[in-house]
């Protein structure tokens, strides 16, 4: 039924307009994440700086989405599926904006890390984790546009892989720090990076929940299995 057009065709244009803004934001965030990961791996401070600068564009788009949504609500008084569309747009733009911030933070830390000796062995795992999150983001946005609940559900489940990768990195950074205290500064930065990528995964999950809400009108009910145990499991600190 959502394929049907509104009698007021300007309403369709309004909704398409905000959805286009979300997709534009999503594209910028995907680029920011992959550029930030590449900058970290290649110690490319110029690319890292570019990621930091480009975050302004993402922030500006979020504001544009917010004002556009406010206008649509005021003018069109959307109901049912239309209402859920504008509400989900608002939430997802918030998720994307946060993800952009994390990518920017990655860029900042890359600038610091490139001044220090490299920590061997963790780069590959971080890259894989970031790639995984980026693919999840792409799939989540595809699921959103196509209103594909199954795909959204699938992406939601994939977040536990990200959590597990974060757990493994957490342990690895601890080991490096215990082995040689001179590693502590770099490992602290790397740990924040890993944590931020893990948080990006949570934001992707929240986008997927919005897909379910948009299509069904209800939030997904059952809690996902949480795999991030670093905050509760003291045994993780024992190496």
């Amino acid at each position: 039924m959502m394929d049907q057009e509104h009698i007021a065709s300007a309403f369709d244009r309004d909704l398409e307009g905000v959805l286009a803004l979300i997709m534009q934001m999503g594209g910028l965030v995907e680029t920011a994440i992959s550029d930030a990961a590449r900058a970290l791996e290649m110690r490319d401070t110029e690319l890292a700086d570019q990621v930091r600068r480009n975050d302004k564009l993402i922030d500006a788009l979020e504001e544009q989405v917010a004002s556009e949504v406010a206008r649509v609500i005021a003018v069109r008084a959307p109901t049912a599926g239309d209402l859920r569309t504008v509400l989900s747009v608002l939430k997802i733009s918030g998720n994307l904006e946060r993800m952009g911030d994390y990518a920017k933070n990655l860029g900042k830390r890359t600038s610091v890390l490139s001044e220090m000796p490299a920590i061997t062995g963790t780069g590959g795992a971080l890259r894989r984790m970031t790639q995984l999150v980026n693919v999840m983001l792409k799939d989540a946005l595809d699921a959103y546009i196509q209103r594909d609940v199954d795909l959204a559900e699938d992406v939601r489940q994939r977040d536990s892989e990200v959590d597990q990768m974060y757990n493994a990195l957490f342990r690895e950074f601890l080991t490096h720090m215990m082995e040689d205290p001179r590693n502590i500064t770099a490992c602290m930065h790397l740990h924040f990076i890993a944590k931020n990528v893990e948080r990006m995964g949570d934001h992707v999950t929240s986008i997927c929940e919005q897909v379910v809400y948009l299509v069904t009108g209800d939030m997904p009910d059952e809690d996902r299995e949480k795999q991030d145990r670093t905050s509760t499991d003291s045994a993780l600190g024992k190496v």
């Binding site: 039924m1 057009e5 009698i7 007021a8 959307p78 109901t79 049912a80 599926g81 209402l83 859920r84």
Partner: protein
């Protein structure tokens, strides 16, 4: 929590000559709540509303079958006097239609013919109470003997609501009560409707989806003589079950 049912319609069909206007409608209307009927023009919502106080009796070619129970009593039973029924089930129309009489007489007329007041003092009391409940007393108390037709549109409509509640009805039917009113008067009448549900069961037909969403607790969506969906207003306007309801309330071609 299941609420008390005030009006229960069971298998109701309405025909205008050969035209089948209402098709096998079952509907239970809650006591002391506002129920809204929405739907495109010609969907049968006003026809169904008019069945509830037998206003359709006045149309020769109109035939109603099935049962409509008011507190369990069939209102189409032979023993029921339609005039008495309409004292219990009052009605407010689209266009404010005060009698060409004074404000006071507009309200006093119903209680007088139904013998609800023993003397002038009681009648005065009923008039004041009714006008207070209709949220218009303060505006008219100093000119009760001026003609009702001299009031503004919004005031006239509130006067008509006061007139409708003067006979102490249990149910108030409203057929697009705000469609001839400006936004301020509309807001006043909506505020009044919200107050009225303390004491009355209100059923309102409206073309304004937003009005239905604002004033009602239950909404029924009529389409081509059928009740397509009936449920909590919050649910209907955020996540309706039927795609036809969704198409209609979101302003798509249904």
């Amino acid at each position: 929590m299941s609420k008390e049912i005030k009006i229960s319609a069971q298998g109701v069909d309405v025909f205008y000559g050969d035209t089948h206007a209402i098709k096998n409608v079952d509907l239970e209307i809650e006591n002391k709540a506002v129920t809204a009927f929405i739907g495109p023009s010609g969907c049968g919502k006003s026809t169904f509303l008019r069945c509830i106080n037998r206003m359709n009796d006045t149309i020769d070619i109109c035939r109603v079958t099935g049962d409509i129970l008011l507190e369990g009593q069939d209102i189409y039973a032979k023993s029921v006097d339609p005039v008495q029924l309409r004292a219990r089930v009052g009605m407010v129309f689209q266009k404010p239609n005060p009698f060409p009489k004074s404000i006071y007489d507009n309200v006093a007329y119903g209680p007088t013919i139904h013998g609800l007041a023993k003397n002038k003092a009681e009648l005065d009391e009923i008039v004041e109470q009714s006008l207070r409940r209709a949220a218009i007393w303060d505006e008219v108390k100093d000119r009760l003997h001026q003609p009702g037709t001299g009031l503004s549109g919004g005031q006239q409509q509130r006067l008509c609501i006061g007139r409708a509640i003067a006979t102490a009805p249990e149910v108030l039917l409203m057929d697009e009560p705000c469609s001839a009113l400006d936004p301020i008067a509309t807001a006043q009448v909506e505020e009044l409707i919200d107050d009225l549900r303390q004491n009355y069961t209100v059923v309102i037909v409206t073309h304004s989806m937003q009005q239905a969403a604002r004033v009602s607790q239950k909404t029924a969506f009529f389409h081509l003589g059928n009740v397509v969906e009936y449920g909590d207003t919050n649910k209907i306007f955020t996540n309706p079950e039927d795609s036809r309801t969704e198409s209609y309330i979101t302003g798509r071609i249904g």
